[in-house]
């Protein structure tokens, strides 16, 4: 495992010298990976460090800097821009270890993203991001532990077909919750095997339209989660027979000023919190017709909502 003490938290990869230790401590970052050749120098700083060689770093799976790809050369402003998000990678390969190489301004979201999916990830960050990264890690450390399995509405048969990755990406982009499988899984109403009669390759070649087809097959009524008020917030839902945890990730950045959430199933009012904000209320909470709806007035980059199922 890359993470040192708290297995669910991402770890910072820091390739500067020990003279920066004070800045790290000031921002609450007290454990990290450092280049193996600098490990000895770091040991006297009082920080919890582990060395990683260049080869080991390169061997990690790459995760992309998360956010909005505005593609300004080819598109005008849209509410639904292309998002760079790694959730689908984490779902597809849960046992992999990941590395992010992050420009300034991306570390907090990357930390939240990897945490939300339980990914084993290291984040190489810029000096300018020490403060936001430190704050996000502190927020993540303060969350109640909830080691719950992912909730999915459909399955994607991952036979390593070259189109399957982008199909997963666009399913995640539309908040269509999927699990991966090596063969069709009868627990799910929809099993996508690209190249099959029902899901031919030529359709999958347009993954956005393909994801829409899947959405229509599933129907919005049967989706475990719907979000209203933003098309740049992606979710991960985890849960069991007694409770759920909904992770919300804001890829546009800045604050989301109001979000309506619909969950399939009946739940009791619970707790919600967001980084930079703290506890947030669940407003206009209503349970009817087999679904639970509520609003959050605001979230920053990452919000976590814990609810108990009605018995």
């Amino acid at each position: 495992m890359l993470a040192l003490l708290l297995a669910a938290l991402p770890v910072i990869f820091w390739n500067q010298g020990p003279e920066t230790a004070v800045a790290l401590k000031q921002n609450g970052i007290e454990q990290m990976l450092v280049p193996a050749e600098r490990l000895q120098a770091w040991k006297s700083t009082g920080l919890v460090v582990r060395g990683i060689t260049t080869a080991e770093w390169s061997a990690l799976e790459e995760a992309l800097a998360p956010g909005v790809d505005r593609q300004v050369q080819v598109a005008s402003a849209t509410r639904s821009p292309y998002l760079i998000a790694n959730g689908w990678r984490f779902i597809r390969n849960r046992s992999a270890k990941y590395r992010y190489t992050l420009p300034a301004g991306k570390s907090a979201l990357a930390a939240a993203e990897s945490y939300a999916y339980g990914a084993d990830a290291a984040l190489q960050i810029e000096t300018a991001d020490l403060e936001p990264a430190g704050k996000m890690l502190a927020f993540l450390r303060g969350l109640p532990v909830a080691d719950l399995p992912g909730v999915s509405d459909l399955a994607v048969v991952d036979d390593q077909h070259p189109l399957v990755g982008e199909v997963m990406n666009l399913l995640a982009r539309r908040n269509l919750l999927f699990a991966t499988a090596t063969a069709p899984d009868p627990r799910y109403p929809i099993n996508i095997r690209i190249g099959s009669k029902e899901y031919p390759e030529d359709e999958a070649a347009n993954p956005s339209e393909f994801a829409l087809k899947i959405r229509r097959q599933l129907t919005d009524e049967r989706r475990s989660v719907r979000l209203y008020g933003s098309e740049t917030v992606l979710c991960r839902l985890t849960g069991d027979d007694t409770r759920i945890r909904l992770h919300l990730l804001n890829y546009r950045g800045g604050k989301v000023d109001g979000l309506r959430i619909r969950l399939r199933g009946a739940f009791r009012k619970g707790q919600a919190c967001s980084d930079q904000i703290g506890e947030i209320p669940l407003e206009n909470f209503a349970v009817s017709n087999g679904a639970t709806e509520f609003s959050i007035p605001v979230m920053n980059l990452y919000a976590v909502i814990d609810l108990q199922r009605e018995k």
């Binding site: 919005d220 109001g258 206009n284 209503a286 609003s295």
Partner: protein, 353 residues
């Protein structure tokens, strides 16, 4: 009359019941008072003559109601205990908007009726546009100014229990929620402008109250074939918007004959010098449509009704369009009972000031 795509499946969610006589079409279906004045605005200075506008409004309101005084005319719609929302339009700022002079005159009449300033609210969706217009500068202290969205797309100030759900093009967010503040109004006065609209054909009473009172609207026209044809009317018919919108005052002092709803190119701004009064938004819009169409004809450009206009993104070229215009949305609204669109059945009372 237009539309080439089937009406999508709308699901309207609202706990509000219609009033016995909904404000739209109200007590004067199919009736419009049209007041013109060559003196209402100085085209050279682009300055409104407040005294003339006041006379236009006084005579328009009296003619509409048949009342013997202006005060009695306003009292037909508003009582002192009402909480009044004034729906303005600021899209064509800074010039082609619900004129601050007209808004001020409405507020003056409301206070004459006995409505407290604190019970009057000027509202629009986008706070930035609304505050840019600085309506408060012309209004008594205490009048509220409410923009629902400080951040574009924010739904924080919308009512999650009153919405229209529809999936147009596979967009993820399929809801359009009503501005929450609207539920606090007992009456709404609608102040649209006379404008071309690239997607809806024109924008007047119906579109101002519909798209201006709900969130997440632009999704209806993300592609060339839009859903403005049915969406405008469907939204205007949602309670409590339909019941509480009791008065339509079309501010046609200035207008936009192409490039609307904004007024970025001064070439397309013109001066109809006309106001219309009524309770029937459909009838007023049907007349306004002909005003815009006549101006376009005079300018020698394609008709609003032409569905074969070449596709083009140059908004400064009146002979191309991003979208297929849907002026038939006015007829569609009439099928929902919002008013009368048949020109042969609309009674117009003309006044010259």
């Amino acid at each position: 009359m237009g539309n080439s795509s089937p009406e999508p499946a709308y699901r309207v969610v609202s706990a509000y019941k219609p009033s016995p006589q909904p404000g739209m079409p109200g007590p004067f279906p199919g009736q419009v008072v049209s007041v013109r004045s060559a003196k209402c605005i100085d085209e050279v200075k682009d300055e409104i003559n407040v005294a003339v506008v006041r006379e236009m409004m006084d005579r328009g309101m009296q003619q509409l109601t048949g009342e013997s005084s202006v005060l009695r005319a306003w009292r037909r719609f508003i009582s002192p205990t009402d909480s009044v929302g004034i729906k303005v339009n600021c899209v064509g700022r800074p010039r082609v908007v619900s004129s601050p002079e007209v808004v001020a005159e409405i507020v003056r009449n409301l206070t004459e009726v006995g409505v407290k300033s604190s019970q009057i609210c000027i509202y629009d969706r986008f706070a930035e546009r609304l505050y840019e217009m600085n309506y408060g500068a012309n209004l008594p202290k205490g009048v509220q100014i409410h923009g629902a969205e400080f951040t574009r797309g924010s739904i924080r100030n919308y009512d999650p229990a009153t919405y229209v759900e529809v999936d147009f093009f596979g967009e993820d967010d399929t809801r359009s929620e009503m501005i929450a503040m609207i539920s606090k109004f007992t009456k709404i006065i609608n102040i649209p402008n006379m404008k071309d609209h690239g997607a809806a054909g024109v924008t007047g009473c119906l579109k101002n109250i519909a798209y201006g009172s709900f969130s997440n609207m632009d999704r209806s026209h993300r592609f060339r074939q839009t859903h403005t044809y049915s969406f405008v009317g469907r939204l205007a018919a949602v309670e409590p918007v339909r019941s509480r919108t009791v008065l339509q005052i079309m501010d046609g002092l200035r207008g936009v004959w192409h490039g609307g709803p904004s007024a970025l190119n001064p070439r397309f701004v013109f001066y109809p010098k006309q106001m219309m009064f009524g309770t029937d938004p459909v009838a007023i819009d049907r007349l306004m449509l002909d005003v815009i169409e006549a101006k376009r004809k005079a300018e020698g450009v394609v008709s609003l009704w032409d569905r074969t206009v070449p596709e083009g993104k140059d908004r400064n070229d009146p002979n191309v369009s991003v979208y297929i215009r849907e002026p038939g949305h006015i007829d569609f609204a009439s099928t929902l009972g919002l008013g009368v669109s048949d020109l042969t059945k609309i009674k117009v009372k003309e006044i010259e000031v």
